[in-house]
Symmetry: C2
Subunit: 345 residues, 2 copies
């Protein structure tokens, strides 16, 4: 089950809104298609959003006929448009910036616009291939934090479905399975969109990982029972000071973990760490429509007209973060100092 892939001159994208009941791949052929897929959560997860957007830029110039400077202007227009699809995950902007930089390089070469488009597609394919390798490394580093027999809680979906492959927070679970290390995973269902129930429980179950689904409000209870020895989650953006934006509810889990003396780990590629964002307070938090809360399950579950607050993300301050696991290794506090060093290596 692959979240997305380039196929027959189009982006083939798994519609994650329909999981786990239906496995439907959409064929996206325009930047508009990709924008909508991101906005409507057909694709989600910071790395997967970035990869999808990269392909979106390519789709924008797939049929381009003209000179290279006009081609470059087109790529920039589409990149700017795709950047408006969602505000929080920084991988979106990171991938678009990388595509823009590549487009600028290509535009200064002595090639046709169709050759430039082909080379731009290669860049998007490379972003995806690198993500897979990155996640494998994240998984290897993260697995050093766990021991056989541990209970590990995760929130939302930072798995293969959120990335090119393996996932970030879920990568160690797949590697543990390969290596015969037994972990007992608890997956928060993650209201309102239920990525934990629909996606994490699904992909771990498919792989044969020992996973138990719980409602978000059971996290504290299972911690109090002594069933959880570690928490690991993904993230949509890490600020320069180590504050972490992730799916709504992550902050509550982090506070509960601290209260129970349980380490709280965040797994992400370097492309999710945004040194240009000083603190969590500087990360824009997307607020989504109340109907996700009131009418998400096929029938209405709240009264019409009631006020609903539906932030898609929250900020976990760095003091709750035991460590951040990247493809370049495990980073601990002081984050303001140690996150920067990652990029110097």
């Amino acid at each position: 089950l692959q979240s997305l892939r380039w196929e027959n001159d189009a982006l083939s994208l798994l519609d994650q809104r329909l999981l786990p009941e239906q496995t439907v791949y959409l064929r996206l052929t325009t930047p508009q298609d990709v924008w909508e897929a991101i906005r409507e959560l057909k694709v989600r997860g910071a790395p997967a959003i970035g990869i999808a957007a990269a392909y979106g830029v390519v789709l924008g110039v797939a049929d381009f006929d003209g000179n290279l400077s006009a081609w470059l202007a087109e790529t920039e227009k589409h990149a700017a448009y795709l950047a408006t699809s969602r505000p929080t995950a920084v991988n979106l902007f990171w991938a678009l910036d990388r595509m823009k930089a590549r487009a600028r390089d290509l535009a200064s070469a002595d090639i046709s616009s169709s050759a430039a488009t082909a080379a731009l597609l290669d860049e998007a394919l490379l972003i995806q291939a690198e993500d897979e390798e990155t996640n494998r490394r994240i998984g290897e580093h993260a697995l050093t934090l766990f021991e056989d027999g541990m209970g590990v809680l995760t929130h939302c979906n930072a798995g293969g479905l959120a990335t090119a492959k393996y996932g970030t927070a879920l990568a160690p679970f797949y590697l543990a399975l390969e290596q015969g290390i037994s972990l007992k995973v608890f997956a928060d269902e993650t209201r309102p969109v239920l990525q934990g129930a629909r996606l994490t429980a699904f992909e771990l179950q498919q792989a044969g990982v020992d996973v138990t689904l719980i409602c978000d409000n059971m996290a504290g209870h299972v911690m109090s029972k002594g069933w959880i020895q570690a928490v690991i989650v993904g993230t949509d953006r890490v600020a320069a000071n180590g504050d972490v934006a992730n799916k709504i509810g992550t902050y509550s889990v982090a506070v509960l973990a601290k209260a129970h003396g349980i380490p709280f780990y965040v797994a992400c590629p370097l492309s999710t760490i945004d040194l240009s964002t000083p603190t969590g307070a500087d990360i824009p938090i997307e607020e989504r429509h109340g109907d996700e809360v009131a009418a998400g399950f096929g029938k209405r579950t709240a009264p019409h007209g009631v006020a609903i607050y539906n932030p898609a993300f929250d900020i976990t301050p760095n003091e709750y973060v035991t460590a951040i696991v990247t493809e370049k290794g495990i980073v601990r506090a002081p984050y303001a100092e140690n996150l920067g060093k990652l990029f110097d290596r």
Copy 2:
């Protein structure tokens, strides 16, 4: 909107599973009907369960024809049966014990069995009438804890729908409205059965209380924003040491409240305080079917066959409880000492 009432020789009971979309009153005529209504959450909330069970005993002898000792045996049989409907809320056992005691008194009198049944119905009606008065007093005491302009978070439904009228935790909100005191209420939706979304948001909205619905996992986030100055919840059983059993997720809210320096109040009648249960560890916690989590709202939201843990309640240790608000006033730690005193007054 009344949760239940005696009407035309039967228990008329609002089917709370269908709220907020449909308002359907069921006509229950046998103890079996009542047992099923309790088990299947057509009626829920500790005080309402107790009242329903009391009427259930009456229904069991409604058509009884025989001598008083056989009548007494019948009442005891039905009471024992109704006690098996759900394990956690102590009001169920409290109400049944009260009905059994009344039945024993009546059986020793020189009356017909039909007169005894009529007097037993009076006892059930009295339990209901007392609950309404009790809740008004709880509301008055609880309101002294709040000030105009406060944000108050509640979990699950401890409102009019969970009781005869007013509710326990929600009673102060209704009184505040009458007295022109402005409170901003946040209601956790309360997975898996969504009593917060379907019932609390509904009954507060109907009454004109300023209520905002959030998902359970947003509680920590709204606390961190400074929007919450107090938490108040109901309870299904308070142990002698002040440990509190309540709807799953209550413990997480209590831990989050403590981490944010927010007082955490529990509202209940004396009939919910069980001095015969030493601590929270001695309270049986009902575990319910995983389909409540995986397929509760018209469509399947988790993969088939995945392991699900679905406890209906959790225990909040007494150190998280700032105060317990009863009809006899506000009790604070040390609970082991002060809860007992309530019953001496």
